[in-house]
Point group: C2
Chain length 287, copies 2
Amino acid sequence: MTEFDAALEAALPAESAWPATIHRAVRYSLFAGGKRIRPLLVLAACDAVGGERARALPLACAVEMIHTYSLIHDDLPAMDNDDLRRGKPTSHKVFGEAIAILAGDALLTRAFHLMVEMPADADADACRLRLAATALLGEACGTTGLIGGQVVDLESEGRAIPAAELEQLHRAKTGALLSACVRGGALLGGAGPDEVERLGRYASSIGLAFQIVDDVLDATEGAERLGKTAGKDQAAQKATYVSVHGLERARAMARELLGQALAELEPFGTRAQGLAELARAIVDRRA
Amino acid sequence: MTEFDAALEAALPAESAWPATIHRAVRYSLFAGGKRIRPLLVLAACDAVGGERARALPLACAVEMIHTYSLIHDDLPAMDNDDLRRGKPTSHKVFGEAIAILAGDALLTRAFHLMVEMPADADADACRLRLAATALLGEACGTTGLIGGQVVDLESEGRAIPAAELEQLHRAKTGALLSACVRGGALLGGAGPDEVERLGRYASSIGLAFQIVDDVLDATEGAERLGKTAGKDQAAQKATYVSVHGLERARAMARELLGQALAELEPFGTRAQGLAELARAIVDRRA
């Protein structure tokens, strides 16, 4: 992924640009060893519909910025109060709370800014697609997506929540952005509405599988492998797929969802190889 | 401004929408009696170039959302730690820090989302203008604008800063967004590059005047009139136009800048009446 990281770096103001603190803080979290699952989904979805990767690259950068902003803000003392992320001290531990809040704000702002930067002579279709993909992203990040999921996650601490509510929470908190990656990547790659809809179903399945695997790993793996505090869900009495369904059933659900995701890819043939590999990697991951 | 407030309300998810907490928090700050200077600038700039107000309305709503997000985050305990804003308890005093952070995030996200929502059959020029206006907004809100200004503001506490640095700080923190309001409103109203540039000079003058008047009011008015803690700048040993230049010189600078702003409006004739009134209101305000 060094090619992608170079694009991500190029999408930021220079590290020494005024004021330097904020550009250091933004880079600290953005280049902290993330797995780049979201940008990979954007680019693989573009591949699946035979699109040009360059058209989807701004979205690939934007979704990684947004994912990073959400981690920085979620880790804050007022939220999940996490000291460790990807094996490194969290942003507020290094830069203080004020700069961590602003670094998150900066990543969110730059993500949308990047999406709307177009050459003055861009053709009308490219402009329309860019607006539509940015609107998908806006919806995924809003109060019915990422932000709403975090609100409900905070409100669910120490409370037994029903399985249906748990699914709604994770569809908002994790699923919405993953779905915007896949559908947005396909859209920018030139997909028709039917293809976008089918890939949306693939995204729903892997989104849910992703969260289930997260819960399984939190319950079974140590902090060293995860690079973040383990067993935190149980300590916070958070409802998880493991606490609601048990470990074995949770694992089986993730496998079933993988099967459903792969089935949606069949009409795309070998072009969807990237999306298939990502689905398997999400379910088989150990961290 | 009740017509504008209705548009702003319509641009939000319903107050009862899932999850209700965040939609209550967003409305609490957005409808807290703000003077709506930024949306008024957007619409007045659109008028000045003979544009259709409906084309500029999404930007008018977006800038008020962004201004409100920046106030919520700036007021947080980790930042300026303010308990009072517009005479009411700040967001984190009412909803707690976590929801206040997320309410700011939600307003920032919705602002950009609103800007990129276009009907599928929108014409190519409308799409291009919308992208360009959103890019102006993105730049104004980023690390060389709003966010960068707040970073430097935090870093300047208790430190004597030179007049040139103070001006750079406020150009970023206040001026950039005011400039994006004026230039963006003109752009969406159909202005040519020369008109946008001229109105950009008007915006620079009133942006600086705005900050100088803020500093004068902080030094001279009581908390009751301001609806926020007064004398805070001095208590925090912040560099202000008053502390650097003295009260009388600061007042004179604001009058000079008003004169420069009004001079830039001359070629627009009576259409620029709204912008002229706003410039006078900014310099003459008492709160």
